[in-house]
Symmetry: C2
Subunit: 316 residues, 2 copies
């Protein structure tokens, strides 16, 4: 199977039109002042279910439906945001959603999945449980990132960024399994070829960076990270190939830098964000990504499903 193309992303945008929010690209005056560059926030926390994930889930399920491959049940694994997206998409399409989630998934994400009627199977072995569920229900797993349809769906966010800001200079994307950055980088490189696209991972959970360095899929032991939404146990073959083709650079940030950037970014943007959404600011603040000498920086704020109590317990 070849790489996802910008044409695939355009087709995905047509396919899910009207089912998702056209999220705004928001000027953040306070971060622009801090960093000395215009900083724009792609507010994916304002997407239905509170993260970008319904873009990919809806595109995959509608594509499978058109191909006669969508069953009565959709199974997957997730830290919570993809689970909510599958539940949301399932509710729209009349499909039951059954998703393997970590036993320590954060409470607002558990509540969010249940809000859309999703069924949660708590587990210590996300992939193993997902495979069992797929076998039991006789349906292909709707993986959270390593499917071309998922990558194409997430890429719609990149089309929207370039529609609102035709010449961004740097787009910074939080990275878990690599579906979001794969899609966004493909769209941005097609529409704004001079723009750099850089991914950010926690240094304790760098599946895509490790795979790019090794030139092959790498399985990580899976250390806990405050950026729970980015704790992918591996980047898959599709997302690795997509990143090799289109992503300029990958960096990591330490946990304490995410913990500090999180409430600061919430306060500066007046957006409720989850820690995963703040890794880009952490990378700029630590110097892992150099602030460009001029031009516009886009921070992709991937999601907003955070426990309020944890938010205020972190240093500000």
């Amino acid at each position: 199977m070849g790489l996802v193309s910008v044409e695939d992303i355009w087709a995905a945008a047509d396919r899910i039109d009207g089912l998702v929010v056209r999220t705004p690209l928001l000027e953040c005056e306070q971060l622009s002042r801090e960093l000395g560059r215009q900083v724009l926030i792609k507010a994916e926390n304002l997407q239905h279910t509170g993260s970008f994930k319904p873009r990919g889930a809806l595109n995959a399920m509608l594509s499978w439906q058109a191909e006669g491959r969508l069953g009565e049940v959709a199974v997957s694994f997730s830290a919570g945001n993809h689970a909510a997206a599958v539940a949301y998409a399932g509710q729209r399409l009349g499909v039951r959603a059954v998703v393997a989630m970590p036993r320590d998934a954060i409470s607002s994400k558990v509540a969010n999945v249940r809000r859309y009627g999703g069924e949660i199977v708590p587990t210590d072995d996300l992939m193993g449980t997902c495979s069992e569920l797929a076998e039991r229900h006789g349906c292909p797993p709707l993986y959270p990132f390593d499917l071309p349809e998922i990558i194409a769906g997430q890429g719609i966010a990149g089309l929207e960024i370039c529609a609102d800001e035709p010449a961004p200079d740097l787009v910074i994307v939080p990275v878990g399994g690599g579906g979001l950055i794969g899609g966004i980088a493909t769209a941005v490189k097609a529409l704004a070829p001079r723009c750099r696209v850089v991914g950010v991972e926690s240094e304790v959970s760098n599946a895509l960076g490790a795979a790019l360095a090794a030139g092959e899929v790498v399985r990580l032991p899976g250390a806990p990270t405050i950026a729970d939404g980015l704790a992918a146990p591996f980047a898959g073959t599709c997302t690795l190939a997509q990143a090799q083709a289109y992503v300029d650079d990958m960096v990591t940030v330490p946990e304490h830098a995410i913990a500090e950037a999180w409430p600061a970014m919430v306060a500066a943007t007046r957006l409720l964000l989850e820690p995963s959404a703040a890794v880009g600011l952490a990378a700029l603040r630590t110097g892992a990504i150099e602030v460009p000498e001029d031009g516009t920086v886009v921070l992709v704020a991937s999601g907003g499903n955070a426990d309020l109590g944890k938010l205020s317990a972190t240093p500000t």
Copy 2:
């Protein structure tokens, strides 16, 4: 002096064009589901400085500048959001901002005023200190709500609501001194005459509702409210007249209802909001405002300058 007209608001929009954010009107799927109606959020927390206030402050200062009435110092009084707006506008126009604020102003609002170089004079007597400052600096006070230029500036939010949703059925506005609702009601009644515009106050701080009931300006003793941004000691003659002409109804909500609605609205919208911005949801949940049988409800989210620690300390 006559009422502020929609023509005044259009002129204000031209005057401050480019200096303020065109804030989005966001569909909130979760609140729409809860209330059984389409709920749209006018996200004024995403305005520069984190509240709607720069619209009025900039319109007043630029109007005064054109009339040769703007001095080297702008003085006012404020719970914090208008102070930050005057500081922000002052920084753009080269004017020093000196503002009387309560001694117990919340810390994020104090920090916000200082971020824009504003000078804070802590006081127990907002009006008295503001008058002293005006005399000392030889300039007219730039009152937070009771000026036609302020009302016209805040009304721009109403033009934007109707541009994004041409036929809203109910617009719900948090009310302190009445500048925001006066402006918004004027704009909405001109552009969508069948839409109802309803204001919400805390039951311990109902300056505009009391003035409408009495038919004249009423001074309140000034009880503390969790909705600190709405703690106006009175509604002025301009805002009272504007509300008499254009506001359909005023309701109050108890403090505990605001305290409950606040974190719920933050979680549902994924917007960082201050308690004042949640009084509309509190009114719908308590039945103070009846959910309409059909149509679209707009909640004006007036600001997002909240202390994160207080947010998570409230019941969810």
